[in-house]
């Protein structure tokens, strides 16, 4: 039998390693920027922060950013929440297919969808010409290159987060509550006063995620010419004022922390009503409601998936364009797949170790907060921090001169999300399993790999798949650090997009989308195959 103290030491050493990895990957690139912005020629100097944070321009920027993010969150909720209820409550026909189709916008890089919407809403686009004909003569056609256009694109990109938050809440909803309520009230009233209030915290969690993602998005407002904080940060680095760019990340950090606190204090406790155990609802909604719900879902799929992809396909014709894309962008496909696989494995591995070692204690909460930093300071600023940290002689230089820096950029940016997924998995673990193993004298390491790992496989697969999708589409943090002679698909696409959505760009966008969707489908299939282990983990 292994001595318990050895176990404690091993676990402590492993925890320290996880802390060290997170610090190097996520904290130091951000910290180095703040130190350089604050300490100027050996003296503490807060001038950049004062001049940036106390200017009236900041209030305009803040208003713009909150308007775009808040508008996107509201519209995404209006689109996504009814779809979620239609899938999981009304149980519309072909809901597995609909679920898969409704997930597509969130899997595609936002700049691909922005290009597609710009095509659709342009003067010659399907929606643009239709809207132009509907409007009274002389009235300007709504342009995608505006705040409402940006809100629309971001909402149609991120609404699946709200949909799946609603689906997740309903899958954990104890159907007996509804059955009991039906004894005293009509069905519509029960839905309004029992089902919606109990699932609302989850829906609002989805809306909050949309708010944060829209707030931090650089590529869509940049493409659509709307100034938000991430765009301003990039423009500040255009005048080589790295200290000002760093200072401007503070309002973003503050907004993210407010959103996180709102979730932790207000929304999370209210989720306690959901039991966490799947109990099939025996009640069925009326066929009429189901039909309406199904029509709504298909309408949303048509507008958010088929229409953008079809407009890109039409723009990409003739078909030989695809051959030309393949011949000229093969290298970029290879680089992106490599970066995607390595980033996903790094993220899933680190997030698993973090979840298994630190559990759900205070350390884990602090670590999650720390991991928010590189996510919240936006990609362009993170890449400047990565240059400052890794572009040095010796081992850091080897990392900086290779694709490893791109992997680290993706890792730093999405560690927060990966850790969140594995933390959710860790919370479902029954602590008694480990206690039983300890009583049997099984070492902590063996228990981790023999008990925790197998039970966490569904979450690991989900985390790996999502991390792969995010890394392949990542642009913001990689655009300044990609090593010479190497380009990812995202960077090449973004470079070409500014020449306008021509056939080549449309074909490359669709092929990128195809790669991402294949990876997403594989991960979803694997998750579906092994996701039935949930009950065993309780």
């Amino acid at each position: 039998m292994r001595h318990p103290r050895t176990d404690v030491h091993t676990r402590r050493a492993a925890s320290l390693l996880v802390w060290a990895a997170v610090l190097v990957m996520a904290v130091l690139p951000v910290a180095i920027l703040f130190v350089r912005a604050i300490v100027v020629e050996g003296q503490v100097n807060l001038d950049s922060f004062r001049s940036v944070l106390f200017s009236t321009r900041q209030w305009r920027l803040l208003a713009n950013s909150v308007l775009v993010a808040g508008g996107a969150a509201c519209l995404a909720t209006l689109l996504g929440a009814p779809a979620g209820y239609a899938l999981a409550y009304a149980r519309v026909p072909a809901r597995r297919l609909l679920t898969a189709l409704l997930a597509i916008p969130a899997l595609l890089p936002p700049y691909v969808l922005a290009t597609a919407w710009a095509v659709m809403l342009g003067a010659n686009g399907v929606l643009g010409s239709w809207l132009g004909a509907l409007l009274p003569l002389g009235q300007a056609r709504p342009s995608p290159f505006s705040v409402p256009g940006t809100i629309l694109v971001l909402a149609f990109t991120y609404y699946p987060l709200v949909t799946f938050a609603a689906v997740a809440a309903l899958s954990r909803f104890d159907g007996r509550l509804e059955e009991a309520a039906l004894l005293t009230g009509a069905r519509a009233r029960v839905f309004r006063s029992v089902v919606v209030p109990l699932t609302l915290p989850s829906v609002l969690t989805g809306a909050l995620s949309v708010f944060v993602l829209a707030l931090l998005n650089f590529s869509v407002p940049s493409l659509l010419q709307v100034n938000t904080y991430p765009v301003e940060l990039y423009a500040s680095s255009a005048t080589y004022d790295f200290a000002a760019a760093t200072a401007q990340s503070l309002p973003l950090l503050a907004l993210c922390l407010i959103a996180l606190s709102a979730w932790a204090v207000v929304l999370r406790p209210r989720n306690a009503w959901l039991t966490g155990a799947r109990r099939e609802r025996s009640l069925r909604v009326s066929p009429r409601v189901r039909a309406w719900a199904a029509a709504g879902c298909w309408g949303l799929v048509l507008l958010s998936v088929f229409a953008p992809l079809a407009s890109l396909f039409v723009r990409s014709l003739p078909l030989r364009t695809y051959l030309s894309v393949w011949e000229t962008a093969r290298g970029e496909f290879g680089t992106s797949l490599l970066v995607g696989v390595l980033s996903a494995t790094l993220l899933a591995g680190l997030a698993f170790l973090q979840s298994a070692l630190l559990g759900k204690g205070r350390q884990a909460a602090v670590l999650m907060l720390v991991e928010l930093l590189p996510f919240a300071v936006t990609g362009p600023l993170l890449s400047l921090g990565l240059i400052a940290l890794w572009n040095r002689d010796g081992l850091p230089g080897l990392v900086y001169d290779s694709l490893a820096i791109v992997v680290l950029a993706c890792g730093a940016r999405y560690l927060f999300i990966a850790a969140g997924i594995l933390a959710a998995g860790g919370q479902r673990m029954n602590p008694r399993l480990h206690e039983a193993a300890r009583v049997q004298g099984i070492s902590w390491w063996r228990a981790m790999f023999g008990i925790t790992l197998p039970l966490q496989v569904p979450f690991l697969v989900a985390c790996w798949g999502l991390a792969f999708v995010l890394a392949v589409g990542e642009l913001d943090a990689t655009v300044l650090v990609c090593p010479p002679g190497k380009t990812t698909l995202a960077i090449r696409l973004f470079t070409l997009m500014h020449y306008g959505p021509d056939a080549y760009v449309a074909a490359l966008s669709l092929m990128t989308a195809l790669v991402i969707l294949c990876a997403g489908a594989c991960a979803a299939w694997a998750y579906g195959r092994i996701g039935n282990t949930r009950d065993a983990s309780h």
Partner: protein, 350 residues
């Protein structure tokens, strides 16, 4: 026991992930080892990939030196790349900076990021397009032009000041004057007119609802598509629309006897201070300044204007000697870049 059986059940998925990762890691290492074998030169280039890539490939064919390029995105033309060069100054990774304009190159010179190098290939290039201290050399220029839609405009505008006329309110476009040649053009206007007049001009653009688009190529596309009647862009972009047979033509603005003249902006090439491969870098600079490169660039869609008088360009390429150019030096323009960028950011990034 349930955990163990589940582990066996799901082992295949974990194996799959680990196998894919192992393959990726092997590829990654193999790629890293292979990289060091051939001599290489790293170039950061702001010239569009479609024009710069064939030139760089020809250099590799001729010398056997591999070129590792970093291309800039249209959205952040030059500026993102210059930010990277500034951020990497303590340990430069670039050997050569091939810019598609002058101002940002001079900013880099003033920040101590460039190294002086007088290329023997640059002897025939006029002094006006070379840095007196040898930190950069100009070649293959572009001009700022008015592009107009022939279906929408019968009498084309002749001056950039026409952007302020009420008849063009909301019907003309420029690129965001924070990046690329439009930023250089904005700084040139500040240098030529002084702060007061230049600021009044840019305020006038806003009052007249002149559209500010992502880049010069977008201005070209939107004018050719009829979204806007006319706009300001570069010769290379404008020529693309004409060659594609779209309803567009272009002309140089302010060419009258008392006119302001247009801005002619050369490509610039410079050696980066502390370049990891200085010998290969000098060879690449010599190659880029050779007559054959200017000739090749003039024959492309971009119709870049040769500066070396020994290069015979085709008829469709406008000559610098026939054009009235703005009476400002590149150093004067560069001195205005940062203050202009601050003003423009305040005015146009709302």
């Amino acid at each position: 026991m349930k955990g163990l059986s589940m582990f066996k059940e799901h082992r295949s998925y974990m194996r799959g992930i680990l196998l894919v990762t192992a393959c990726a890691a092997t590829l990654f290492l193999a790629h890293g080892c292979a990289r060091e074998k051939a001599p290489a030169v790293v170039v950061y280039t702001a010239l569009d990939e479609m024009y710069s890539q064939p030139i760089l490939s020809a250099f590799t064919e001729q010398t056997g030196i591999r070129v590792l390029p970093v291309y800039d995105t249209e959205a952040s033309k030059t500026t993102g790349m210059v930010s990277r060069l500034v951020a990497e100054r303590d340990r430069p990774r670039a050997d050569v900076f091939w810019n598609n304009e002058t101002a940002q190159t001079i900013v880099l010179k003033n920040k101590g990021i460039l190294e002086a190098y007088r290329s023997p290939s640059a002897e025939s290039i006029p002094d006006a397009f070379k840095d007196p201290e040898g930190f950069w050399t100009g070649f293959a220029a572009r001009g700022r032009v008015i592009i107009y839609n022939t279906d929408l405009v019968k009498v084309p505008p002749s001056s950039i000041r026409d952007l302020l006329k009420p008849e063009w309110a909301g019907r003309a476009a420029i690129a965001k004057p924070l990046f690329g040649t439009t930023a250089t053009h904005a700084a040139a206007l500040f240098a030529a007119w002084g702060d007061g007049e230049a600021k009044a001009f840019f305020h006038g653009l806003k009052d007249n609802q002149i559209a500010v688009l992502a880049g010069n190529a977008t201005v070209r596309d939107q004018v050719a598509a009829g979204e806007y009647a006319w706009g300001l862009t570069d010769t290379d972009d404008a020529n693309g629309a004409v060659e594609d047979g779209r309803p567009a033509k272009w002309l140089y603005p302010d060419q009258g006897p008392d006119g302001l003249g247009t801005l002619v902006i050369p490509n610039t090439v410079a050696l980066v201070k502390g370049a990891p491969h200085p010998d290969a870098a000098q060879k690449l600079i010599d190659y880029l300044l050779s007559p054959q490169v200017e000739e090749a660039l003039s024959k492309m869609r971009s119709i870049q204007i040769p500066l070396n008088p020994n290069v015979v360009a085709s008829e469709r390429v406008p000559k610098v000697s026939d054009t009235r150019t703005m009476a400002v030096t590149f150093d004067e323009i560069a001195a205005r870049m940062e203050s202009t960028a601050v003003f423009v950011k305040e005015e146009f990034l709302q």
